[in-house]
Each structure stands twice: as C-alpha cells, then as structure tokens.
C-alpha cells in the first residue's frame, strides 16, 4: 500500500511542488501588497454593496486582518488547493481511461488499496496546500500589518484542508464509481460551485440563512476562524470526505474495470 501510494504521489510530484511553492509565494505576495493598496481599498470598499463582504468571508478587506481573510482564505487558497487536489483525485478514473491502471492492478494489490492510493495522494495534496497557506500567511501577515495569531492561522487553515479533502473525495468517488474522468472533475467542481453559491445565497438573502449551515462552504467559514477560533462545524467537511471515500470504495469494489 505504501509503495503504491508513493508511486502515485510520484506521478503528481510536479503539481504538488508547484502548489507548495506557488501558494506560499502568492500568499506572501498578496499580503505584502496591502500597505501600498490600503488607501485605495478603503475607498473601493466604501463603494461596494454590503453583500459583497458577506460573500467573501464576511470581512472588510480594507483592514489588514480582513485583507488576510478575503484575499487568501475566501477564494484564492481554497480554490487553488481544491483544484490541484481534485486533479489528483480524478487520476484514478484517468488512469483507467488511459489503460495505465492495469500496470498496477495486475500486481497483487487489492482494489481498495489501488483506488485509495489515488485518494491518499489527493488528500496529501490538500494537506500540502494547507501547509503552504499556513506558511504563506504566517510570513505575509506581518508584511500586511495584520495581527493574527499562529493559533488563528491554524484554526482557519484546517477547514481549508477540509474543503479540499471533501471536494477531492467527491471527485475521486465519482471517478471510482464511473471510471469517467470528466464526470469526476465535473462532480468536484459542481461540489465547489454549489457549495459557494448556496453559502452566498444564505449570507445575503433574507430568510435563507439556513443555507449557510447546510453548505460545505459555510462549514469552511472562509477564514472566520482566524478571529473567532476553530468552528466545530468544519469537522463536517472531514465527515463529508470520509463518507465520499466510503461510497467510492464501495462502488469501485463492485464495478467492472475497463483496463
């Protein structure tokens, strides 16, 4: 199982390293820009409708702390991390379509081990994304003048790993069930898009606030944990990921493989 996991990880090593380096650089770069942009952002923020702040993490991006939340946690970091993790998660279905899965399937490994090696890589990438954001924000926040604690950064970054894990598990499960990489990626991005949409509607539409409590993006919290501390609702993201993983294993065991 370890050999299989390491081999699958090897196939994604470039994208993983780019994610690590890229997210640190982008996070630090964005945050370092804040002192130069502060005045313009204050004027810009004043002209924006109220609901915009709610959509991007319920924060004022013209303040240093709010800037960290909106520019890093609201969209950029989760989308990049989830995107790279979902790409790896769709690898199972891609390998089946390309007939490269046979090379390892025909070795004495179980279907579970084979399939889970791809999910393991996707989750490792989610974790790497989290580490990159953690490092990027820890290095960049002082440059922006933000006063955020390391505990706050960790509390905000854990749900980010969770949202990437849930999105990639959804991608992987659909790929495991269908063997279709397009369907797998589509399912992952639909998960992300619908989550974001339902959470946004819940944030801005009167009477629909319940949507935020059922939306995975609502569980994510978009960096609120920096100020408010870890929200246990974020654990639902990991529960979702585990549920999708169980469903994927169940489906992959029972399906014909086209190798």
């Amino acid at each position: 199982m370890i050999a299989l996991l390491l081999d699958t990880l090897r196939s994604r090593r470039v994208s993983t390293l780019v994610l690590l380096g890229g997210l640190i650089t982008i996070s630090v770069g964005y945050l370092a820009l804040f002192p130069q942009l502060e005045t313009q952002l204050q004027s810009f923020a004043g002209d924006l409708p109220e609901f915009y702040g709610a959509i991007v993490g319920d924060a004022d991006f013209s303040t240093p702390d709010g800037y960290v939340r909106t520019q890093v946690y609201a969209l950029l970091a989760p989308l990049i991390t989830a995107g790279v993790a979902m790409g790896a998660a769709a690898g199972l279905a891609r390998a089946e379509r390309d007939a490269t899965l046979g090379a390892t399937y025909l070795a004495p490994v179980s279907r579970d081990a084979l399939a889970l090696s791809y999910l393991g890589v996707a989750w490792s990438i989610a974790l790497v994304g989290g580490v990159a954001v953690l490092v990027g924000v820890a290095l960049g926040a002082p440059l922006a003048g933000a006063e955020v604690s390391m505990g706050g950064i960790v509390a905000a970054t854990l749900p980010l790993v969770g949202v990437a894990a849930a999105a990639s598990a959804t991608t992987w499960a659909v790929g495991a069930a269908t063997g279709a990489p397009g369907a797998a990626s589509g399912a992952g991005w639909t998960f992300v898009g619908l989550s974001f949409l339902t959470n946004s509607v819940g944030e801005v539409v009167a009477g629909a606030s319940w949507l935020t409590s059922v939306s995975p993006w609502g569980w994510y919290g978009a960096g609120k944990a920096i100020d408010e501390g870890f929200d246990p609702a974020s654990l639902l993201l990991f529960a979702w990921a585990a549920g999708a993983a169980a469903l994927g294993v169940w489906a992959f065991r029972r399906r014909d493989l086209q190798l």
């Binding site: 050999a3 081999d7 007939a99 046979g102 090379a103 025909l106 014909d256």
Partner: protein
C-alpha cells in the same frame, strides 16, 4: 490432466450476444491454449472475468484453483496478465515499473528477470512511458506479465505491434514456459499465431464458445479443398449427396468443380471417378479453413 483454468456457464452479457455467455472453458495445465475469435467475440470479456476485472452475471470460474472474484489478490500473485490495451504510466520507464512491481510483489528477482526478458525482446528499459511506440508498450506489458515467473500467463493479443522476428522470439518464450510446466492462455484473432504454438484451441463467437479441441482433433476434422476437372460437363447437383462434401463450386461450364469436404476422401473420389474425372488437385488441410467453415455453419 488437471486444468489450470476451468469455467462453467461463465456469463457476462452486456446486451444479447454481446459479452461472454455460458462459457465452459478448460485449459489444461502445462499447455498453450489458443483462445480464438474475431474482434468483439467475447475473448477479452472472458479474460477480464478470469482475472477479476469483471464480475460474472452467473457461472463459476476456477483459475489455479482460486475464485477470481473472491480470491483476486492471491490469484494475481500466481498469474501474469497482458491486457489488450496495456499502457505504461507516463511517469514510468520500463525499469522503474519493474522496480515498482518487484516492490508490490515483494520479490527483488522480478527486476533481474525483467531485464533479461527485455534484452530478449529488444526493449529499451530507460525510455519514459509516453515516448514508447505501440510495439515497445507491448513489450513492456509482456515483460511485466512474465517477470515474476507466473504459473499461468494470460496474454490478450500479445503480438500486437511486434515485428515477425520478435513474434518468433515470443513464441520461443512461451514454449519455454510450457516446458517448465507453466500454462499459457493466448487470446488472439490471428489463426496463424495460435497455430504456431498452441496445443489446444477454443473458438468463441457471438459471445459463445462454439468449439474447444486439440489441434490434432481439429486437423482430423479439417476442411480440405480439391479442384476436380472433368472431360464432360457434370450436373449442377453432381456432388450434392456425397458424404462429407460441404460446398461445391462449378466453373468452366461445369467442367471444373472446386470442392470443400471433411472426413474420408473415398466417397468423393468414387463420385468423381464415376463422373469421368481427368485430374484432381488437393490442397493441404489448414486450421483457417476449419475455422471459417465452423463460422459458416454457425451462421446457417
């Protein structure tokens, strides 16, 4: 003789006549078994069921005494498989793939045997997977299937992309395997490939196994072809009632008849003699004619 593979009513039917239906396969241990049939006949579906990739709708299969559905991992330890569309992952070379397989099998000798096989098949071990031609990808698949010295080798269209010299080399490799008591299931649509090395053959068509026999048995039942010339024109039904005659084609204003027949030649010679035959040219029996005749019979 104990069978390395035995199936009973093995069925996976995707649509009427598509897949493999009620396949009763018996592959004797220590032999090369040629599994023949046209493209889409059900060979690959049967093979996928034998190696646990596809679950049967009904029926049973025993491969080396193991159930491919419930004992897949144990089975994969003992068999080597080349699937019809094998491909090498982009991040691997043949050598790195061998190292991975050695690690997954817990057997370091896989690499050594693989390198030796690669030399015989003239395979470059250090080229990235995405740079390999069809023939080289096929060689990697063959090396991966054989490197752990399996008891049973299942090869789906193994000579795809191999040049004639390498096909001969592969034939030699497979013969060596059977000399050491290994069993080979060789799936192919090429009669000549199977005819060269197999002792047993099974014909599958329209998802059903229509014939299973040794080559010797098939040769005894082989369709033979003869051209008979006559001094005078013969009646259009001259050979209709002759025992063993399958088809008669009249040409040259019915002075020449081309006959296909099975079994003893005596009834045909008697009839030809009675009609005043002046010459007979007979060609040797071949498996292809038998194969095609079997298909025609099945069509009828």
């Amino acid at each position: 003789m104990i069978n390395a593979i035995e199936t009973s009513g093995l069925t996976r039917e995707y649509a009427p006549g598509v897949g493999a239906v009620d396949v009763d396969l018996a592959v004797p241990t220590g032999t090369v078994y040629g599994f023949l049939g046209p493209n889409g006949a059900g060979k690959s579906t049967t093979i996928r069921m034998l190696v646990g990739m596809t679950r049967p709708d009904r029926g049973t299969a025993s491969v080396l005494g193991l159930d491919p559905v419930t004992e897949t991992v144990a089975l994969k330890r003992r068999i080597g498989v080349l699937s019809a569309e094998s491909a090498i992952p982009r991040h691997h070379t043949a050598r790195s793939l061998l190292r991975l397989l050695a690690s997954l099998r817990g057997d370091d000798s896989v690499v050594e045997r693989g390198v030796s096989l690669a030399e015989r098949l003239e395979l470059e071990l250090d080229r990235p997977g995405h740079e390999l031609s069809l023939g080289n990808r096929q060689k990697v698949g063959l090396v991966a299937a054989l490197a752990h010295d399996p008891e049973l080798v299942v090869l789906d269209e193994p000579s795809n992309g191999l040049d004639p010299l390498l096909q001969r080399e592969l034939d030699g490799l497979l013969r060596e395997l059977t000399q050491r008591g290994r069993t080979v299931l060789l799936s192919s649509h090429s009669l000549s490939e199977v005819e060269r090395i197999a002792e047993h053959v099974g014909f599958i068509r329209g998802a059903k196994l229509v014939e299973q026999a040794t080559l010797t048995e098939l040769a005894a039942r082989a369709v033979r072809v003869a051209t008979v010339r006559f001094e005078r024109a013969v009646p259009a039904d001259a050979f209709e009632e002759v025992r063993g005659v399958i088809a008669a084609t009249y040409t040259d204003e019915r002075h020449t008849v081309t006959l296909s027949w099975q079994g003893p030649v005596a009834p045909l010679l008697l009839r030809a003699g009675a009609l005043g035959a002046t010459s007979i040219d007979a060609r040797g029996a071949d498996l292809e004619a038998t194969f095609l005749a079997m298909y025609r019979r099945d069509d009828a």
